[in-house]
């Protein structure tokens, strides 16, 4: 399969990319790793008039520690994340999740910025981004701005990213020292995408009560979401198997389960609670 014809230009700086986006009058698309965009173009589900290759912008590479957060440049690949020292030290769950994305070859090319901007509801990063209170850094002609992950994902492949903005980085909260974190996933056996993926980050105080909890879920609905009902049910409560089980039953409360040929909404809802329970047990018990 071959994409339809397009113009190809390279941006050397973020400003350059923004200018090219503006000039393309809605016909332009940014090309990072291309592992979401090129398959769509090959199926001709999208046919941008111009591809703006941002791979040569060195400012968009790498991971930095800044203000209690890890700032991940948009072009950082999943492979880079797995190997990154700062990630391993401060947010190991990010590496643990990256290891579950696609396969070796896909992780060589796929980028964090591309994954977030593409906003596939069954991708693995959105749930983790929500649990880690990610901030999406955007830049356009008027300057830079940050959008919290909570307000970024609108729906399947729909985000708050304006047409003429460049997603430059994603910054993730470093969880408190005592909190443990995990991403567990039931993947579609053919595509490897998440049928359900749950990221849980939680810690307990000296008296065994939950004093920090974040749960982000992707795969089960049209858009990744924060499972606030689960968080509220457990915060301040004693860590017991019974409390965890009860809280996990609320995992579907903040979203509408979607169904398809592979997994009905009912089945997804069942899996969602089961995987939430497993994730919570791993970080709390």
């Amino acid at each position: 399969m071959i994409p339809s014809t397009f113009d190809y230009v390279r941006a050397e700086t973020v400003e350059d990319a923004i200018k090219l986006l503006v000039e393309s009058e809605g016909e332009g698309k940014l090309l990072a790793g291309g592992h979401s965009l090129l398959p769509l173009m090959k199926f001709r589900l999208t046919s941008p008039g111009t591809l703006i290759d941002i791979n040569h912008i060195s400012d968009l590479q790498g991971v930095q520690l800044k203000d209690e957060r890890l700032v991940v440049g948009a072009l950082t690949t999943h492979r880079d994340i797995i190997k990154d020292q700062l990630v391993q030290e401060h947010i190991p769950v990010l590496a643990q999740t990256a290891r579950q994305i696609g396969d070796i070859q896909v992780r060589s090319r796929g980028t964090v910025g591309g994954n977030i901007a593409h906003a596939d509801p069954a991708a693995d990063l959105p749930g983790v981004a929500l649990a880690l209170e990610a901030e999406i850094e955007l830049q356009d002609e008027d300057g830079k701005q940050r959008v919290s992950a909570d307000g970024f994902f609108f729906g399947p492949l729909l985000t708050a990213l304006p047409e003429t903005s460049v997603l430059t980085a994603v910054s993730f909260l470093i969880p408190p020292m005592h909190a443990k974190s995990v991403y567990v996933k039931y993947e579609h056996p053919a595509s490897g995408y998440a049928v359900v993926g749950v990221c849980a980050i939680a810690g307990k105080n000296a008296s065994g009560k939950v004093d920090f909890i974040r749960v982000g879920i992707n795969g089960v609905s049209d858009v990744a979401y924060r499972a606030s009902a689960v968080e509220e049910a457990l915060l301040g409560k004693a860590v017991t198997e019974e409390n965890i089980r009860k809280a996990a039953l609320l995992a579907t409360k903040d979203a509408e389960m979607s169904g398809d040929m592979f997994a009905s909404a009912e089945y997804r809802s069942h899996l969602c609670s089961i995987y939430t329970e497993r994730a919570l047990k791993q970080v709390l018990l």
């Binding site: 190809y8 291309g34 008039g49 290759d53 396969d103 070796i104 070859q105 090319r109 053919a190 490897g192």
Partner: protein, 175 residues
């Protein structure tokens, strides 16, 4: 929109090539149709089967999901570049000895994915090999012989490396 051609320069299996290509030309088609390196196969054409796996700038990638223009200035290694008929690469030897194939269609991609895997993890466990094979699909073997071939290749490569180290040590006057 236009079919304007773009000049690219890519080192493939150690040889520098330049060409003028359409931006939409996929790297796999550049390798197969322009350079006539047909060892790299197109299987699913949807980033799943891995038959088109090559090394791009030292990383295993699926060349059906990379544009040729994205490889400009880069280095590619295809299955044709890893060994010769006279001297097979240890991965090729492993697949030969343990018969890690049946029809052979996926084999070049599987061997290139193996290269990516063993580069990251020279001594993988069986579980790690199976996880490492996630990006390739073989419809014949049931993977069992492929796993055996990779174990064999890993052993050959680590023995060769140990041999080199001992040689270096001796050459440096070590005991």
């Amino acid at each position: 929109m236009s079919a304007k051609k773009i000049k690219i320069s890519v080192k493939v299996n150690g040889i520098q090539h330049t060409a003028e290509v359409e931006a939409r030309l996929l790297l796999v088609h550049y390798l197969r149709d322009v350079l006539d390196l047909t060892g790299t196969h197109v299987g699913c054409d949807t980033t799943q089967c891995g038959a088109c796996t090559i090394m791009l700038n030292g990383e295993a990638v699926k060349s059906c999901t990379v544009l040729a223009v994205q490889a400009d200035g880069g280095e590619v290694m295809t299955v044709e570049g890893i060994g010769s008929m006279e001297q097979l690469h240890p991965i090729q030897e492993g697949f030969w000895e343990k018969h890690g194939l049946q029809c052979g269609f996926c084999t070049s991609g599987v061997m290139m994915a193996t290269m990516g895997l063993l580069q990251e993890n020279p001594e993988p466990t069986e579980q790690e090999i199976r996880e490492g094979l996630k990006g390739v699909i073989c419809r014949c073997t049931g993977y069992q012989y492929i796993v055996g071939a990779i174990q064999d290749a890993a052993q050959r490569m680590s023995e060769a490396k140990r041999g080199e180290e001992i040689e270096t040590l001796h050459a440096g006057g070590g005991k």
